[in-house]
Symmetry: none
Subunit: 180 residues, 4 copies
Amino acid sequence: MDAAYSLFSQRGFLDVNTIDIAEEAGISHGALFLHFSTRDDLVNAVISKFGEEIAKRTHHLSESRSSLRGILEAHLDCIRENEFFYSRLLRDIHSLPKNAGLQLTCILSAVSHHIFLAAQREIENGNIKPVASDLLFNTWIGLLHHYLMNRELFVVSGSVVERHGNNLIDHFMKLVTLKK
Amino acid sequence: MDAAYSLFSQRGFLDVNTIDIAEEAGISHGALFLHFSTRDDLVNAVISKFGEEIAKRTHHLSESRSSLRGILEAHLDCIRENEFFYSRLLRDIHSLPKNAGLQLTCILSAVSHHIFLAAQREIENGNIKPVASDLLFNTWIGLLHHYLMNRELFVVSGSVVERHGNNLIDHFMKLVTLKK
Amino acid sequence: MDAAYSLFSQRGFLDVNTIDIAEEAGISHGALFLHFSTRDDLVNAVISKFGEEIAKRTHHLSESRSSLRGILEAHLDCIRENEFFYSRLLRDIHSLPKNAGLQLTCILSAVSHHIFLAAQREIENGNIKPVASDLLFNTWIGLLHHYLMNRELFVVSGSVVERHGNNLIDHFMKLVTLKK
Amino acid sequence: MDAAYSLFSQRGFLDVNTIDIAEEAGISHGALFLHFSTRDDLVNAVISKFGEEIAKRTHHLSESRSSLRGILEAHLDCIRENEFFYSRLLRDIHSLPKNAGLQLTCILSAVSHHIFLAAQREIENGNIKPVASDLLFNTWIGLLHHYLMNRELFVVSGSVVERHGNNLIDHFMKLVTLKK
DNA sequence: TATGAATGAGTATTCATTCAT
DNA sequence: GATGAATGAATACTCATTCAT
């Protein structure tokens, strides 16, 4: 799974075949199918593992923050470690087995939950505009994913989160903040 | 090209092979390659044609509008007719020949140009917040593309633009508008 | 036929398709098959025409010469004008329709006939060694064809006959001449 | 490789496709490409193996002979076992991957080396005419290859070397020998 | 449990030949 | 007669999956 994770991160899900994965893992081609009965099974397993890690981190990091800005910072922190894998996942998600889509939805649900709560609090406190929670969430996700999926538009190489993360949060907060 | 356009719209670019396209077009498999010397050529041709149409419509529709809201409405009007094709293009763009990416960039450039101009005017008039133009544009594109690419999250079937277009514009305008 | 002759001379018989020939001839692809019902027919026609020209030249040129050296000089003169086509023919002869082989045999028969006569005369006169006529002929043909078929071993570009013809004749005559 | 060698020997390199080779080898079509990544790879491998065998035999057989006649006899002995394959190679060499031409050049170089040495000795001893070594070599190769490539002119079926080898050597020696 | 050779269905592409206009 | 779009069989190559050892 580590081998697959690494190759998927580098080359995407579509351009990596089972032979390459087996080779990277240092096992025989046939042995791969003893652990995962189909390629899709392997893909699902890798994505699920990734999903669980993200979920755990999301839960852990969000706990200590209550402001919307804090939640967004936590969100970026969650992504940071798996940024390349996550970007590949976003790009290829619609060509992957159904389960992959569910996993992604799950991950996003968790994030949305925290954003919803924080947003509601801030709205009640009169800090941010009273906008529909789902639109607020989708604006953030759309913006962030746009940067992640089209990374070559925004960085020559390296991390998009590192390079643009704070700008994105600042910008987003500026949009939603209620000027007094 | 119509056959390919139709199949690509329905099933995406990756799941449609040249046999299916030929069959849909009512010609033999071999005949396909008299018109387009490779599959990539065909893909490029279909996307280029789409790009030109969009460009023409964008130019035409944006002309008569000057407000930011007007431009966004025009943008949605441009997409409306090719919404399914456009959504598939967004999903698969990173697996398509290089030219496809250039076409998409071109299309977005034209849109961004109009949004930039309108936004600048509105900022000068004190109607909207003074935010960086590129972030403003990417926020809109990110939001819209998020809805288009993940359409099954937002509509059971049918048009996302039809169902959510106005909401998206209202929401976006609400975010950027300067409350007085 | 001129178009085909030209293309065959340049690129060989195997790498030229009927579309290229039609294009070179300035007619439509379909029209080609009004004149020649199959590609093989065309190939045969081109080779036959070439064969007739060579035969005529061979006959004409050999007439005035009686010495073996004179005949060999005449032989090279015959080839000179069609050297590239002839070389391609030698290379590809075994992949061409049966008739092509017969034509080539015909051409060689004519040459062999003149060489036989001259050789016999010279043997009777005690000028050259009394060797079997067919071996004498095949030695000359083998040597000449070896140079023509493998031209890149012997010239950078241009005519092999021009560059090496006289040497080949001198060498061959040296071999067969009876030292006194 | 044995299957390919056999089919190439019988039908030439151009008329044998990968399906036929796989079938002859008793494996599936796809399996062929596990062993050789392209058809050209297979062709190269078969020719290279043949080249090595010939080289080894050439070296071995030439060692014990010092006379020009001995070398020519050794040369024919080398070819004898692979006569059909070698003849096909000569016929098709100009349509084969570049490597094949290099292999053939290699094989001929080795032969030419031995012939050069023997010829020089015999010239010094006054046994044969003082002719240019390369022309001497090319005369022999041209003659021999002419018989091998056009085998149907010289034998109904079976081995050309067997049927005509000694005659060719006798004839060639007669040509080059210095009558005293 | 592991191996790795083999499978076999699939895919893009080529090209001589046909035929309605 | 001429056109040129269409045919359709052929060909090299890919890859997830299987299975005898």
